[in-house]
């Protein structure tokens, strides 16, 4: 079990942090120091985007999970090698500018108390994710479909509720996040149910709050009590997000490893961060770096992996944020990279309508 947990930790923390170096350059230059959190989240988005591109053709051609696992492994290895090369070149070419609002900043007592409270509430969520079970009907589909793939290698050709053979379940097959869960279960040797209900919630809840932390640093670069109070309020809003069964916060804590929850509480907040970054760079008369566009394209593709509807949702958000940014700054040329970033969601939507 411990070996399995270490393997999952390597696949969901170490691997994304390494791959994230591909796109973290502009963010870290601005910050004045390296940002493992940004690397982690953006690296995971790139890996999910890659997973989508590898898995969908394989599922449509009735491939097996083992093939997917092999191809995803090769892709991950290539990304790691590219990231290492990029990191080496970057370190050789520059020294990081120290930001006064960065690590060395002394925190006042109020800020320390607020960070402490936020940390306690965050840890409480992790403990509850492990200690409490939720009677979630949709898990009977998503976890079972992962378990079937993990055990027999068949992807979306077995009825998860009963075990009977069926035709391709297209609605779910074009958003194969459960196959990512199955891959983690297969390589770690830990059953899909334990991966989806205990291990991934710990990883994904942390990653979601990591994204909120990145937003806090973007909104309050000076850090201090502003960022601390922001994070404390986020913790409270998430913990008290049970006002509706449908809220993104409720999905984060209740259905954590389901694609829909990842879309609502991780991918969409990360898109907000990228939109804000792009708008601030445009405001400062800068041209957004290619790495920002790559991150954006990867996050949009990750949205497609999460849910079939995710393609439309992220495209709609991109459209709204894109139109507002372009119109506010009258920078019409921004439409070109924005349209490029939308390639995956548009292709996935077209594929769905063509095959359905």
């Amino acid at each position: 079990m411990i070996t399995g947990i270490l393997i999952i930790a390597a696949a969901t923390v170490l691997l994304p942090v390494t791959v994230g170096a591909l796109v973290s350059g502009p963010y870290e230059r601005e910050l004045g120091r390296s940002s493992p959190v940004f690397r982690w989240v953006s690296g995971q988005m790139i890996l999910w985007a890659g997973f989508l591109l590898v898995s969908v053709p394989l599922i449509l051609t009735q491939g097996k999970l083992w093939t997917l696992l092999f191809l995803y492994g090769v892709l991950s290895l290539c990304l790691v090698l590219a990231a290492v090369l990029v990191s080496v070149r970057r370190n050789r070419n520059r020294k990081l500018r120290r930001n006064p609002g960065g690590k060395g900043q002394s925190r006042d007592r109020t800020a320390a108390a607020l960070w402490g409270c936020a940390a306690v509430l965050f840890l409480f969520q992790l403990v509850m994710a492990c200690a409490m079970a939720y009677e979630e009907g949709d898990d009977a589909y998503y976890v079972a479909v992962s378990a079937v793939a993990e055990s027999g290698g068949t992807m979306y050709y077995v009825l998860p509720y009963t075990g009977g053979v069926t035709e391709l379940d297209l609605r779910h097959a074009l958003a194969p996040m459960p196959m990512w869960v199955a891959c983690l279960a297969r390589v770690s040797g830990i059953p899909s149910s334990a991966v989806a209900h205990v291990i991934l919630p710990v990883v994904l809840i942390t990653m979601a709050h990591g994204t909120y932390y990145l937003l806090s640093r973007r909104l309050f670069p000076e850090g201090g009590r502003k960022a601390a109070l922001f994070m404390l309020l986020i913790q409270v809003l998430v913990l008290f997000g049970g006002y509706s069964l449908y809220s993104a916060e409720n999905f984060l804590l209740v259905r954590t490893a389901q694609g829909k929850a990842i879309l609502a509480s991780l991918v969409i907040p990360f898109l907000f961060l990228l939109f804000l970054t792009i708008a601030e760079q445009v405001q400062e008369e800068q041209k957004p770096a290619p790495a920002v566009w790559v991150s954006l394209a990867a996050a949009l593709a990750a949205g497609c992996l999460c849910s079939t509807e995710g393609s439309g949702l992220v495209a709609l958000l991109m459209g709204a944020a894109g139109i507002c940014t372009v119109v506010c700054y009258r920078r019409w040329k921004l439409f070109i990279p924005m349209a490029g970033c939308l390639a995956t969601p548009v292709c996935m939507s077209l594929l769905y309508f063509l095959l359905d």
Binding site: A133, L233, L237, Y243, S247, N250, L253, E309, L317, I323
Partner: protein, 250 residues
Amino acid sequence: MGNALKVLQEYMGTGGVLILFLFAVIYLYLREKRKPRRILFVYVPILLLVLILNPLFFRLLREMDVVYFRLFWLLPVIVEIAYCAVMICETQKGRAYAALAVVFVTLTAALGRPVYQNPLYSPAENIYHVPDSVVHICDAIQVPGREVMALFPEELLLYVRQYSPVVCMPYGREVLTGVYDALHETACAEKVDMEQLVPLSREKSCHYLIFPQKQRFSREPSDYGWEVFLETDGYTVYRDTGVELAVPEE
């Protein structure tokens, strides 16, 4: 707007968080001067709300079978509320700041509802987050190298195939959502009619049949070739000897 508003009402539940969010949009519209933040916190939410609450857009997406409430995930609800609260607190200093911060934390908690208060939560019985009974029964009935067909009581249907993909069931979660299944109807009766159940379960090749220990039957199960295979966690597992279970040779 009628129907889209209804979805918004359902999505926002008690409505307190919606009020906070709308307050934050208005506050930031009036006070936030930095353009990138106005775009994220004012223009994008307003544009999305106008679009999502538009009846034509609602009708179009409903025809495409879109689950409409998910569109509200695109609104930066909690980020905007938290950001607005911090900006308001920053207008004060010293004790007033602390008091305002406490007010906002209390308000956000009071207007929401604790996620863990949901009655569907229960202490996890094992690392798989499925009932122990499912683990014990599935472990007992599994046969290496092949699948087995087992009829489970309603309360265990959600969990069986999450734990073991080699245990198949004649019906699954769909019956809990109202899909009719004759075998399910017969097996869930207060007093199970064996004359009706046995042919139906054999038609579906059920090797094992699991019932609560207190389950009443019209006649003794042993009269129909059912042997008690296991008694565990308040359930009796019957093996129907009338359905062949060939074990593959190694």
